[in-house]
Amino acid sequence: MADLARTRERRELRTRWLLLTPALIILFIAASGPLLITLIYSFLTPGDYGGVQWKFSTDAWFNVVFQRDIFDDTLGFADAHLSIFWRSVKLSLMTTVGAVILGFPTAYFIATRPANRRDFWMLLIMIPFWTNLLIRTFAVMELIRNEGTINTVLMALGIIDEPIQMLFTEFAIMVGMLYVYLPLMVLPLYASMERLDFSLVEAGYDLYATRLAVLRRIILPLVKPGLIAGSILVFVPSLGAYVTPRVMGGGKQLMLGNLIELQFGQGRNWPLGAALSITLLAIVMVALIFYVKSAGKEEVGHG
């Protein structure tokens, strides 16, 4: 009996792998192919007019973090790159935190509406999401530029005398990204909150938990999967964002995405661009592993 079951199990496993093969091949070509090319390019020499020369070199990787002084040839950190790395990570983290702060109450609000109204509220969240990214970014720009809505209103009310410079700052980039990526936080959060049994919240109140305690001890642990998914969905694209920092930062406040674009464009240094791309990927991977690990550990501590 056991033998029979085992053979059948093995046969089933083999069929499953066979069925999966085409998908795996496509996945391998589509996902690993470009990555492999990027990796190879990062070890080549830049061509004179863009492109690459097939000559092995680790210069690109060296230049990601270090630079030689043009005059005395001394070795130093590539301050420009490092500050862009730092800005990218910082702004992405702030965007993620901001998205949690704004997205959590939003998702909670929608999840606590009567069932037949929730779709309407979700539609309101989704409409901007379906709008072109550039248009959305320009909309935020219109709000915060010096002659924009916020400054005009504040000046008309006499609260300020001259416009506050918001556009072309890090703040502007963060606001832009927050606006653009907020739905990506609300969606998974809402999905896990909708499944939340609100009688558990009542049970919490019944057992002397205050609002804050109910939030911390009951709601947060139960919607944690949504929170993790939302954070990843916001943090990862923020880190590689290109359009928003370009428009909102006005080309002065570069992020990683802009730096990479610069190398493939004006910089004519494809290997450096490739090395930076891989670096971005590495940062994302490290951040994800760190995040998921720490989130998982907390769960074990609870259980």
Binding site: D197, S199, L200, E202, A203, G204, Y205, D206, L207, Y208, A209, T210, A213, R217, I218, P221, L222, H302, G303
Partner: protein
């Protein structure tokens, strides 16, 4: 002591306005096992939720030992609930669930551990202390829910049909256990059920509800033997309803004339009219005999054998029907047969006049 005074809860407005609770007034005494009994949708859960603080009444007051309960948020009320759906925290273990209330009250660690151990022993869940609540059976979940609500030693425990999901055997065990718990801990229990047998066996007092209003409050014996109105008599146990006419009233006894013309003493009820009334007589309080000299003559239509007892369905001469229930004796077949002329008798004072 909890005093609910004139509590009304309305849902909707205008044409769809609907009273889930309609001017409910009831006093629940200290250490009492008080049961809310009524058909589905009559407002039992709503009343519990008003006391627990999850529903704000439209009007009326609720006080506990003289203090206004409605001013307090749910987490500040010395009241715990065993929810109809248990509502155990799925991300916590059995032990952590039971400890939750104590932790929220800020009890010292050692005291929490000790109380939780006691509670788990009480509901016989010690062996499963570290299981996730998704990994235990329905009956075990129910016991954890009970332990969780009992652990903070509330003054009042609200139990919303806590036994409804259990099988017959476990249900009987839990009934006994609950009753024991209530007497031992001295906690006031407000218990919701729509199972009349459960209500009769466990309660100190029962409130029978219908359509958002309390129809009658009394001890199980009061409610069963002396229902005040037709709804209560009908909802609890089987009852025969007889048309009757009140002739006179004196010293808490009324003299009534039945449809057959016979006269007998019966129990009066406050608020009943004078002339034509309805009289309720329980099937087991009446006896079947020969036609001659009986209160109500009729024809035997049907004999239904139930093992412990037999039901005799009689068509009265006036056109009403009447059921007599007689306890069976071993090896003694009934002396009557279907179609026989028979007579029904019941002692004076057994019939109860209803308010209708």
């Amino acid at each position: 002591m909890i005093e609910v005074d004139g509590v009304t809860k309305a849902y909707g407005s205008g044409k769809t306005r609907f009273l889930a609770l309609d001017n409910v007034t009831v006093t629940i005494r200290k250490n009492e096992f008080f049961t809310l009994l009524g058909p589905s949708g009559c407002g039992k859960t709503t009343l519990l939720r008003v006391i627990a603080g999850f529903v704000d009444p439209t009007s009326g007051t609720v006080t506990m030992d003289g203090a206004d309960l409605l001013k307090l948020p749910p987490y500040a009320r010395p009241v715990n609930t065993v929810f109809q759906s248990y509502a155990l925290f799925p991300h916590l273990t059995v032990r952590q669930n039971i400890a939750f209330g104590l932790e929220m009250l800020g009890k010292p660690r050692a005291e929490i551990t000790q109380t939780v151990d006691e509670m788990m022993a009480l509901v016989q869940m010690t062996k499963m202390a570290d299981r996730q609540t998704g990994q235990i059976s329905g009956g075990q979940q129910q016991r954890v829910a009970l332990a969780r609500a009992l652990a903070p030693k509330p003054k009042v425990l609200l139990l919303d049909e806590p036994l409804s999901a259990l099988d017959f055997k476990l249900r009987k065990d839990m009934q006994i256990e609950l009753k024991r718990l209530q007497t031992e801990t001295g906690i006031t229990f407000i218990f919701v059920t729509h199972d009349q047998e459960e209500a009769l066996t466990m309660s100190d007092r029962i409130a029978v509800m219908s359509a958002g209003a309390i129809r009658q409050i009394g001890s199980p014996r009061d409610i069963y033997d002396h229902p005040a109105e037709r709804f209560v008599a009908d909802f609890i146990g089987d009852t025969n309803f007889l048309p009757a006419e009140i002739l006179s009233e004196a010293d808490g006894v009324v003299q009534v004339r039945l449809g057959s013309g016979a006269e007998i003493a019966a129990r009066p009820v406050e608020g009943a009219g004078r002339g034509a009334v309805t009289l309720a007589v329980r099937p087991e309080h009446a006896t079947l005999g020969p036609e001659a000299g009986a209160l109500l003559p009729g024809t035997l239509r049907n004999i239904v054998y139930f093992g412990t007892d037999t039901h005799y369905h009689v068509a009265l001469d006036g056109g009403d029907s009447f059921v007599v229930r007689a306890q069976n004796q071993p090896d003694r077949a009934s002396a009557v047969a279907e179609g026989d002329r028979v007579g029904i008798t019941f002692p004076p004072g057994v019939g109860q006049v209803l308010r209708d």
